[in-house]
Structures are given as C-alpha cells and as structure tokens.
Amino acid sequence: MAAVSKSIALEPAGTPVQSFADVPQVPPLVDVEIQQELEQFLYLEAELLDGRKYREWYALLADDLSYFMPTRANRTSRELGRENSARGYLANFDDDKRTMDWRIKQIETGMHWAEDPPSRTRHLVSNVRVDKTDVTDEFQVKSNFICYRNRLEREVDLWAGERDDVVRAVGPRRWQLVSRYILLDENVLLAKNLSVFF
C-alpha cells in the first residue's frame, strides 16, 4: 500500500487523481510458510500419484471427502453460467471416500486392465494460490495442472485444468484433502478413460 500512496503523492497538483479501485487485486498473502507447505503438499500428492502409491495418496483424503469433476458443455456466451454440470447430474468424477476406495481397490486387484500394464503419468502443478477459509486449519488452495499420460506403446494423453481444493491440517506437516473441484479443460473426453487421478 505504501508504494501506491507514494505515486499518488507524486501527481502534480491540480491533476485529477485516478482511482485504481477496480484493478484486480492480489489476494491477501498467507504466511510464507503456509504457502510453501501447501505447495509442497501438492507436490507430495503428485509424487505419490506418479509413483503409483495409491494407498498412501488415499491416506491424504479426508473421511468427508468430496471429489468432483463436472462435465463441460459448449454454451453460447449468454448461457455460460451453465457451462459446467451441476451436482446431481452426470459428472466425470463425483466421488466420496467410499467410491475412491473402490477405485483404488480396483487398481490393487492387478486385473484392472485399463491400468495393467500401468500407465506412466507425470503431474505438473503450478499457479498455487492459497487463501484462508472461515475454518481454522482449513485453507482454500487453487492450482493449475497438466497431467501427461503415456500408455502401452504409443498412447499419449495430455490433460490440463484447475483444481479448487479445501485442505485441512491434521498434524505437523500433515494435511488432508477435504474437497476438490476439478475443472478439466475438455468437453468431449479425448482419452478413452480417466483412469488417473487429478
């Protein structure tokens, strides 16, 4: 704020002062340690997924998990508010802890043919934006992602999107994912499945 005040003070006398009130504002910064720790949490998560450590990843999920990826429709700009499917409609993911357990159990059978032989994935996470919530120990964490998947001999899939998470501190450097809303930047899913986690 001090820098802005200085520039106003430098305006020559008599010149109308411009209001910057409608310039989008960087949200209030959280403690730099929280920012770093939550970034590292997302990187830890990516490392577990790319390392196929699904049960360890599962332990990062809160019992009251909501994990949702809507479908996205091509809409006119007039109807853009209905671009993303609402709850209660077919979605790409609409999981709770129980159904997430099903998915991981399926991989653990060793007979989930879509993932046997397993895919090679690489999750790239960036644009991490952290904000406080009304609940102590819970933070909103938004991030962008690219997930690259290479499968069998020549199958390549590339996904990009944004995640809007709520994470909860459950111990020193321990966090759990309470809710995740994933906006995948696709309409028709271009891959033959979404047998990866985002």
Binding site: R103, Q106, T109
Partner: protein, 463 residues
C-alpha cells in the same frame, strides 16, 4: 469401384459365425455404412426431458450427420440438419441451451427454431430479392418420434414407424422407461472418445454377457474380494438366464431370471445399499407396472447403436471414422424419485458403472482395433462368433423376441451382423427384416413351414 453385395456377404458370414475384421476397418465399408445404415435406421437423439421448453435445443449426430433437435412452440420436436443452406457451415456450435434463432456465423443467414430461413442479409440488393428463401430452410430429418421419453429420428421417409422398428424390444425398454409413474428424467450428458470401430461396442451390448467376468473382473473383485460377486452375478453358469434378439437387430445380451429382491441384493453386494433400499421401497409400484418377470438390469442394444446399461445411463455410439467413436450418454433417474434420491442414485450408479466398469472395455476395444487396422495377418483371420451355433432359439410365453436358453451366447451378435448386412446390401428399398434368414438361424432343425407356424404364433400374440 464399390464393394459388391457378394463380397460384403462373404465378409459377414453370420450363418457360420465368422465375421471378417475388414468390416471394422475398411474405409469404403465405413462410407457405405454412413449412407446405407445410418441414413436409414432410427437413430437415438436425446431424452425428451433434455429439451423441455420451446427453443431448447440439443446438438448431436446421426452417424456422421450433424443434427440439432429443437423443441417447437407447439410442443413437438424437429430434428434439423446442422448445415446452412448457403455453404454448409454449422448454424449451431453450442452443445445445448435455449435459443431464439440459429444464425450462421459466415454470412448471417438466420433460421427460426422450426428451421425456416427468416433472414438473409442483402436479400434486396445483392440477391435482387430473388432467392427462394421458403425452399432454403434447414433440412428436416424425415421422421421424428418419441418412445416413452426417448427421441429418435430417421432420415428415411420410407422407413417403418419407430414403434414397428422397436417391436417387442419395448417390453424390455419399459423396465427403466416406465417402471415408476412419470417415467425417466434426463440428468446430464457425458461424452468420451474410444478407439476402435463403433460396432465393437454396439455388438457387445447386444450380445456379450460373456466378457463381464473377465473384462470386469477387477470391478467385481472390488465388490467381493473373494470373487463371490462375480460368481453370483457375472459368471452365471449360463443355464440360468436368457439372451434375446429381434428381427430388427436389437439384442439383450443376457439376463438372469431374477426377482426384484435379487436386484436389491445385487446392488447391496456392490456396496450400493442406497440403491438396494430404493428398489425395496418402490418394489410394489414397480411390480404393479411391470409384472414380476422383467429383467431389471437389461444390458442391450437398440439396433444399430443405442446401448442401454439400464441402471442409470444409456448412450449412443457415434462413429468418427472406422477407427474411433464417441460415446454420448445420458444419465437418467426415475422422475418420481425425491431430489435426494435422484442425486444419490445417479452418483452411485455413475461411480460404479461408468467409472469402474467402462475403462476396461475401452482397453479391449483400442487394442483390438489396432490389431485389426494394421495387421494383414489379423485381417485374414475371421473373428469367431460361433458360441451356441446350431442350437435353436425359441419363442417364450414370458419373454418376447427370439429367446436363447443361455444367459451367455453369441446368437444376438450373429443376428446383429445379419441385420447389418441387410442394410449394407439392400439398396433399392428400406430393408424389411428377413425373418426367414433369422428364423432359419434360430430354429435350424425346423422346416420352412414349421418356421412359418412360429411366425404366425408370434403375430397372433403381440405383447
């Protein structure tokens, strides 16, 4: 040079259960398919409840033909070819919504929601006011009809009515379309790409109960690690169920003779107790509407490319070339369910069915496709559809259609290709089903006159 009817027949030897991989990969056969099959069959468009109000539209395909379904002011539905009459540009690029008019982004030609050309920029000056605009409306698909909330369309004006085309398949479709008051309500659209030929999926849902216990073994083990679920619900011995097929090509892959209690138990065994409870709560109503005999979990294909996995979704396989297709599926719930029930039912079914089950199908289809498309040796290898060959089907007092006394069979698959071939080789008129061909396959040991008798019995006892 167009492939001959004789060559097509040689490639599609349904009588002996030997189908050439070429019909899944050949570019010319694909092109002919778009004309001869998709240009003349009843194609599923969308649930009626997807477009409830005038001006609501849904953008989809019939084969490779782009069409828009639009609710009219009088409550009817028109299906219009999504191509401007000027230069063929799509007049609608949004998936769905509500619109007052379709305006082409190229030169601004504008059509109302009935497809009439209502505005042409520069009509007076550049066109000398001399353009027959009344004849340049969007091309209307010849026939549109609705069966209990499912909208279908057919480009061919000479094709029989939808009701005749569906025939007694409706008895099975009613299992989910009409099991409670108010029928079904559409709940969203999901689109996904698969590698492979669309017929791999369509025939699988028509005829293939066989694959469930192996392809979907991981899903069944999730629900019972000891394998019990699969043994009870997937790998039937085959003796305790039925497969059904129809002259128009539809197929019900295989169902157990279950009572409604078992269906509730089926869902509980999959950790979806909420769905089991829902069925229990509404069992009396369902029984009253449907009677006690209907298979409650039909897996089926309405010929050629609408497949039903009637636990909460149904979808079309849209061909995108011989080696790819797009699955466009709709979620649905009983309209009579409460809002909370609807949400839970849809979510749980989606999570179990679309999530756990379908990925493994996709793996089969893409690797089969790769083999068939690229390998000359594989292309010479006829695909084997001989399960149950030579064993007769029959008419059944309870189950309409040609009934096979096994829940695991490939009879309906042979019939699927029989009917496919009829469309591919019959060009001078809309192909009425060759019931003699089907019945000789169904009742191989009977004489021609015996088969005629069977046909008479069937006609005398419509459902």
């Amino acid at each position: 040079m167009t492939i001959s009817a004789n060559d097509l027949s040689k490639l599609t030897d349904w009588q002996h259960g030997q189908i050439s991989p070429k019909i899944f990969v050949d570019e010319e056969i694909y092109r002919l398919e778009m004309e001869r099959l998709f240009g003349r069959t009843w194609q599923f468009i969308c649930p009626d409840s997807q477009i409830p109000r005038p001006g609501d539209f849904f953008n989809t395909y019939m084969g490779e033909d782009p069409v828009i379904a639009v609710r009219q002011r009088d409550g009817g539905i028109k299906v219009l070819l999504n191509a401007c009459r000027h230069r063929g540009m799509k007049v609608c690029r949004a998936d769905m919504g509500n619109i007052k008019a379709f305006t082409c982004t190229y030169h601004g030609w504008t059509y109302d929601t009935a497809g009439n050309l209502v505005n042409v920029p520069n009509l007076e000056d550049a066109y000398y006011n001399d353009l027959p605009t009344e004849r340049l409306g969007l091309i209307e698909v010849a026939q549109v009809d609705d069966y209990k909330g499912l909208v279908f369309a057919n480009f061919d004006p000479t094709a029989p009515s939808l009701r005749e085309y569906l025939g007694d398949m409706t008895w099975y479709l009613d299992t989910f379309l009409d099991r409670r008051e108010g029928g079904i309500e559409a709940r969203g659209v999901h689109k996904i790409t698969f590698k492979g030929n669309w017929k791999l999926a369509a025939e699988q849902f028509a005829s293939d109960n066989y694959h469930a216990s192996m392809t979907h073994i991981s899903a069944s083990r999730v629900w019972s690690p000891d394998g019990q679920f699969a043994d009870v619900h997937y790998r039937t011995t085959g003796y305790d169920g039925r497969q059904v097929t129809f002259p128009h090509g539809h197929g019900m892959a295989g169902f157990r003779i279950d009572t409604r209690e078992d269906m509730a138990q089926f869902y509980r065994a999959r950790g979806q107790g909420e769905i089991g409870d829902y069925i229990d709560r509404n069992q009396a109503e369902i029984d009253e509407r449907l009677g006690p005999d209907r298979p409650m979990y039909p897996v089926a294909t309405v010929f050629p490319n609408l497949s039903i996995r009637a636990s909460g979704s149904l979808g079309c396989w849209h061909p995108k070339g011989p080696h790819a297709f797009e699955a466009v599926r709709f979620g649905f719930v009983d309209a009579a369910a409460t809002p909370e029930e609807k949400e839970v039912l849809l979510r749980l079914d989606q999570e179990s069915t679309l999530a756990l089950i379908e990925a493994d199908d996709g793996e089969n289809w893409s690797e089969m496709s790769r083999n068939m498309a690229r390998s000359p040796q594989v292309q010479r290898m006829p695909l084997n559809y001989q399960m149950g060959l030579g064993h007769p089907g029959r008419h059944d007092d309870t189950y309409p259609g040609i009934v096979i006394d096994r829940s695991i069979s490939e009879f309906a698959g042979r019939n699927f290709f029989r009917r496919w071939l009829e469309f591919m080789v019959t060009t001078e008129a809309w192909p009425e089903p060759d019931t003699e061909g089907l019945y000789s396959m169904a009742y191989p040991s009977s004489t021609y006159s015996e088969r005629q008798d069977v046909r008479e019995v069937a006609r005398a006892n419509p459902r």
